[in-house]
Symmetry: C2
Subunit: 229 residues, 2 copies
DNA sequence: TCCATTAGTGTTAAATTGACGCAAAGATAG
DNA sequence: CTATCTTTGCGTCAATTTAACACTAATGGA
């Protein structure tokens, strides 16, 4: 290792991380949007994001945004795609590395902070117009989530630690935007050993008290493949 | 649109595009590597890549690299992942956006150019040690290709326009590194209408002259799902 | 006590898969 | 020109998986 010259001050594009934060509650899949206080896209809804600081990794930037806007650490994060359209930001060349996050909204309190007019959950079926290219980023995140849930136990991140089969089933129908046969769904999920019965029941205002399950962290490989038609 | 301030000269990480170029020939899947002429990793093998220029899109940078090193345009390109490990480049903070490419080696001539000592195809089973974090990038590209080929007609990019069933079958076995039953493979591929028989036969030094097929560009959705065991 | 509702279990025909066998077409060798 | 070898194409079948559906159990409320 000799003669290594550090990078000159080449002009590099700005590098931002944008986040598609999904939450699920009451049979509704939502995404967290932020109303901008400043130009460009002042008073428009956009995905939360931040510029990458020199020493930060992408996940650090994600955590910074999430803890500011959600008071939350320890969420499921996955890199989605990097967006490079030259005109995507009117301020100049900016690359966005998009991540999506899955959070349980009942365990977070969103707050606007000083950078935004407002922060709010929006039903993904009733989204407002989005600034920048964020509509495209969102669409891609949704597609990724829909594809991933068919073969990987993402989605438990959106539920409480204990959940009923019906709650899991509803979640899948909601994410996939499809009806799924209740009984075949149960069989697939159980055969895959995705979840573990706890023996506890959910008591309350229901009819028959349903079993409570928890996620099985020791997954067997390639155990699960949901087929949609 | 008012009061839009252009970005200040924030210090941004360098942004490079790295390429995993796959080629297939004679039952061997290969990847294109470049022997560096300069530090860091002088005389080491690395993936080809280049820094993103201010007006370029990722694909432009890919094309620039590919035309320099391969004299080739019009190749299949897919974004793989963005790598942000702070120490991945000893010269300073550098983000890499990795793409993988599929090319038909019989239609390209690799040449080292002035930046490299040498450019060469390497059998993916006999790779040399790689500089930077390129071994990780390569591994991820291979996994992506292996996963993708199970449900999408990638891979035709690696063959000639006309090919036999056996050639396609060999390609799949080679990429997946698995034996696949010849007859079941044929049935799946044909049922999915992935390919079209041309009526022509491959003449030559073979025994029975095999049918020549071409890729069916009008794919029906979700038609194909190869199962591996 | 009956009813409505949700939860849990089982049945069955149809489709798909995986593991094969075998015949046709061409090359080669005696 | 016949026998044999190899590759290609086509088909069979048992085992598994799937999709569609019916039934029973548990609970709260009328």
């Amino acid at each position: 290792m000799e003669n290594i010259q550090p990078f000159h001050s080449y002009k590099n594009p700005s590098l931002a991380v944008d986040l598609v934060v999904f939450g699920y509650k009451e049979r509704t899949l939502s995404v967290l949007l932020l109303n901008r206080k400043e130009e460009p896209f002042k008073d428009c809804w956009t995905l939360p994001g931040a510029f990458l600081q020199m020493e930060e990794r992408f996940r650090d930037t994600c955590s910074r945004v999430l803890s500011t806007k959600l008071g939350m650490n320890d969420v499921y994060l996955e890199q989605l795609y990097s967006f490079d359209e030259p005109d995507r930001d009117p301020r100049g060349r900016a690359i966005a590395v998009a991540y999506y996050a899955l959070v349980n909204p009942s365990q977070v309190a969103v707050s606007a902070g000083h950078m935004a007019n407002d922060v709010q959950w929006f039903d993904i079926k009733k989204l407002p117009e989005l600034g920048f290219d964020h509509a495209i980023i969102f669409e891609q995140a949704l597609k990724r989530l829909q594809a991933k849930i068919l073969y990987f136990p993402v989605g438990f991140e959106l539920l409480d630690d204990l959940f009923t089969m019906t709650e899991l089933h509803d979640l899948y129908e909601c994410i996939l935007d499809l009806p799924l046969d209740r009984r075949n769904f149960r069989r697939k999920i159980l055969d895959a050993e995705y979840i573990i019965a706890t023996g506890k029941k959910r008591e309350g205002l229901q009819n028959r008290h349903p079993e409570l399950y928890k996620f099985n962290k020791k997954l067997k490989e390639n155990s699960f493949q949901l087929n949609i038609s």
